[in-house]
Amino acid sequence: MSWSWVSVNGSLIWQLTRQTAYLGVVPALIGLAISVPLGVTAARWRWFSPPALAAVNVIYAIPSLALFIALIPALGLSDTNVIVALTLFSLCIMVPNVIAGLRSVAEPVRQAATAMGYGQLRQLVGVELPLATPVIIGGLRVAVVSSISLASVGQLIGVSSLGYLFIDGLQRSFPTEIYVGLVLIIVLALACDLVLVGARRALTPWAAR
């Protein structure tokens, strides 16, 4: 471990860390924005959920590197390429969670909402989605952690992230760079995970701690 390398390259490391956070967090957030309406649709119209879940299983089986490559003709060797691919994976993680979360709402709760005069939309926004929040955030946690770690694979098609430290460290046979990349990716992923655990506690104050 060469600490002098770390201090000399502080600004490079900081820039790569920010880039990795961007490539990891954005897909998970877009995934959240798309998976909630998709999951609501699948939970409402039951016929929609088996094909949706089957599609999700197949897409999730695609290796990340292969998906990045498949998107090159359309999106080039760009951040967009990696973001679109990781958004697809995030959807695969989150859609089943949104469906499971909505289905976990107990029938008496729905009936109580109906009895209180809640219409369908108000029931969804005011009762079902809040109760499904812990399960949805559970999916978001997996999506964000996976995206941060998978973003480093994008380096193989030239999309810059902390993965740069792996490739450069291999070419120069310089373990320090690889340690720094590994530690920062894991720390970044766990930090995002902690933020989401905090968000879940803040959003669902009624849940058992």
């Binding site: 695609i62 292969a66 998906l67 480093s152 792996f166 990349g181």
Partner: protein, 225 residues
């Protein structure tokens, strides 16, 4: 041209189907690396998962592992070992096995630990020994989840073996890594398409396997994850 045209043009070239480094050769090599890692990981993770699920000891460790393993960047782990120890049998097999263990361990644990209390009591009441309870009741009931764990790990191995080409492993990743290094999109696209086909084939294999292995009474449950 789209990805599929590039990939198809390359895959259907007769020259790519003969000799060393040909498509059949690399498909077999890829299956070999993934299969060997999966086998070793399963031999470690399934007994361990059953033991932890049955006794409840070490459950906290497994639950935390479930969240943490996705954070490990596979590319970084592979490269680190290659730089520290040089490329060898050990430097690709050890990281692949390490990465395949968590999904198998976590799912096996959850399957065994999740067996209904009443069912366990019934097994005990019927006079089964601890060993019989595990092998005749808990493991069969946990089988759908054990298979989910194996499936997740198998698909993950196909993907990770591809990335391991970057540190010198053979298999389909060779086409991708060598193609990227020489700026030829043909083999890159072709290799990627073959890897996707292989991963989806593994998925289909496990769908078939679960029909064969999961007891009929559990099958409806087995489909939900």
């Amino acid at each position: 041209m789209s990805f599929f045209t590039f990939a198809w043009d390359w895959v259907t070239q007769a020259a790519n189907w003969h000799g060393p480094g040909s498509i059949p050769h690399q498909v077999l090599a890829h299956l070999g690396y993934s299969g060997l890692s999966l086998l070793v990981a399963a031999l470690i993770a399934i007994p361990l998962g059953i033991a932890i699920g049955h006794t409840g000891r070490g459950a906290v460790f497994v639950v935390n592992l479930a969240n943490a393993w996705r954070a490990i960047p596979t590319l970084g782990l592979l490269i680190l070992l290659a730089v520290l120890l040089g490329f060898s049998f050990v430097t690709w097999l050890v990281p692949l096995v390490v990465l395949a263990i968590p999904p198998i361990l976590v799912n096996t644990y959850e399957g065994v630990a999740g067996v209904d209390r009443g069912v366990k009591d019934a097994a005990l009441g019927a006079g089964m020994t601890g060993w019989q309870q595990v092998t005749r009741v808990e493991v069969p009931i946990a089988m759908p989840l054990i298979l989910v764990g194996l499936r997740t790990a198998a698909i993950f191995m196909v993907a990770t073996a591809t990335i391991a080409a970057y540190i010198g492993l053979g298999g389909l990743g060779r086409y991708i890594v060598d193609g990227l290094a020489s700026d030829q999109y043909g083999p890159v696209a072709g290799g990627a398409l073959l890897v996707i086909i292989l991963a989806v084939a593994v998925l289909a294999l496990f769908a078939g396997l679960s029909r064969l292995i999961i007891p009929a009474g559990l099958r409806r449950q087995g489909r939900s994850e």
